[in-house]
Symmetry: C2
Subunit: 363 residues, 2 copies
Amino acid sequence: MNQEQGKNPHVSHRASMNEVAERAGVSHQTVSRVINHSPNVSQATRERVEEVIRDLNYRPSNSARALVTRHTKTIGFIAGGVNYYGPISTMGAIESVARDHGFYLSVAILDEREYTRESFEEVADSFLDQGVEAFIFLAPTLPMVEAAVSANISQPRVVLTSTQLEGSAASHPGIKLIGIDQVTAARSVIDHLANLGHRRCVFFSGPQEWGDAAMRLRAWRRFSAEKRWDAQTVCMKSWDASESYEKARELFAGIPRDQLPTAIVTSNDLQAFGVCKALDELGIKVPEDISVVGFDDMPGSDYYTPALTTVRPDFDELGRTAMQELLGYMGGSEYSEYSKEQDKPPFTSHLIVRESSARPRAI
Amino acid sequence: MNQEQGKNPHVSHRASMNEVAERAGVSHQTVSRVINHSPNVSQATRERVEEVIRDLNYRPSNSARALVTRHTKTIGFIAGGVNYYGPISTMGAIESVARDHGFYLSVAILDEREYTRESFEEVADSFLDQGVEAFIFLAPTLPMVEAAVSANISQPRVVLTSTQLEGSAASHPGIKLIGIDQVTAARSVIDHLANLGHRRCVFFSGPQEWGDAAMRLRAWRRFSAEKRWDAQTVCMKSWDASESYEKARELFAGIPRDQLPTAIVTSNDLQAFGVCKALDELGIKVPEDISVVGFDDMPGSDYYTPALTTVRPDFDELGRTAMQELLGYMGGSEYSEYSKEQDKPPFTSHLIVRESSARPRAI
DNA sequence: AGCAACGTTGTGAACGTGAACGTAGCATGC
DNA sequence: GCATGCTACGTTCACGTTCACAACGTTGCT
């Protein structure tokens, strides 16, 4: 890329296959064969052609190639909720795998005002215009998941979500739903707290239109009931710290110590931050008086004061698998076995125990 | 997108312009005119053609169009450092503006192992194969900036960085460097602390191969000297909290109160977290004993304990401007004035004063 | 010698679109 | 009456590649 031998002192003219052919004294088809590594080219001509290619700084036209092969080597990625921490890692992994397999990733990032079915379909439509060969939808909210699944698209697609729509997805062949296993994640939190001796716990749910939040709440209800806990649920409309902060202040102000819950579980780390701050201001110590556990292990959670016990999903692995599934649908052969092999992929999150959770005072 | 009138019960055959033309009883050129909103089409034929287009679910082939117009409507975006908070917002803004102008964004995200010149050029090369019309480089580290600037590319490009390479960039026409104004940001931090009465301060620098870190350090040195502060600088190799935590413990353990600095400035919020945690464990109170100020206002900084005083750069505005600059280079007319108008764009960051900074004890 | 098989190369036609150009029809002007 | 201009189309070509097939020379076999 650094040496542009100034054979072309004029404007930046992009050489074509024919020019290469002429200059190398062969037909354009032979040049094509060299480019595509066809075995039926003699070593001599191959080298000659390759030299001309270097000289002219020739590169094949992707458009012309796509026109005849009908392969654009482009995958459309539509993401919502990327300002929250998790999805970003996933996206990085997706891109990395795509690039490793020679695919380009065309990206659309929806902001919160665009978390609608309309925006979703509009973007998908524009990607179809562009000619993407497949889709990856990062659909954190329910309306998006439905839009992603129901969109009338013939291209294969993977939908990343935590919601349970397996039934309806099964009816669409070529659609694969993949998501973090929130149930197991929630279970590990609850087991952890149970082992410490907690019985009276409060759960701060996330906004319920988000699949993650809904699944975590569901799992919470199920497991806390199983354990016959004295469990309470507080519904948040937001993922941010401010709402949980306000709510925690309101809930726990002036409550006698022995009537406080011994543990609080929030639906993400930001909410946990809000809760911790409220407790701090109320003179309630974490974890001595109340344990706090979050979700996601966002950057900074490890050096929060107190360091936050939380659950870290493997966002990277999620992204990688999603992309590999998709490539499997597209390529056909090599990945399909892989795909069948693990029907429920092991996206188990890891509980990270830090300072914010401990045995309750009176055990 | 939802109604696929089943006129084509067979495989998903993509209709061509000629089929539309035939069915509508016109020539393909007329169809082309309808698609491209040429004025020279009668209302009647236009409607007839549009109906056939809907019926056949026809969409123009981007490849064929790109082949003849030589416009792929695609912009390549190469980003490093996206796992850190700031760049993500920037990327979202970039994508949004691109989409608004009908451009697709092809994205490559480099992970830390790929922060090299080689990876950078390799990806740029693959984007050239794809046929992108322009580049946006998000180049947080010095080697990347150099790679981005020196790469032999005829397409226009914008490089997002905080380093000062204006001189060498000016020599390349068609390259525009844009970055957050770290100098002003640092100045606002120092003015804030000075106004509170601080004189003895410690600065935790970031990894110096990062432009942001280098600029912040430079500005720190300059302004703290101007104010004749008792200033000390500690060099960090990482942006993460762990290193600053260790260093702060080491630095401030067993120091008599009256010999401690009255304020600590870190190069980002994560480092500030680490410092605060160390101070907390050493029994040093923030802000009563020491004030702490960070950079970036990452999510959670507002509900840290104590809430962090920090500087919030306008990442969104940065991304928007970057994209508009680029479109200006490409489009030519409408944006060029805009580009000249503000040679140094006002990417002033905003100081957010929270709990972690206050007047020093003995003033 | 004749002929098949093979490896290497060339030829022509597609792919779907936009640009340049041509042309018919009709209204306007003198 | 005819030149002129405008509108609404059609025709032809070019974009740069791949694909199907043909053609060529060499080798090996009968």
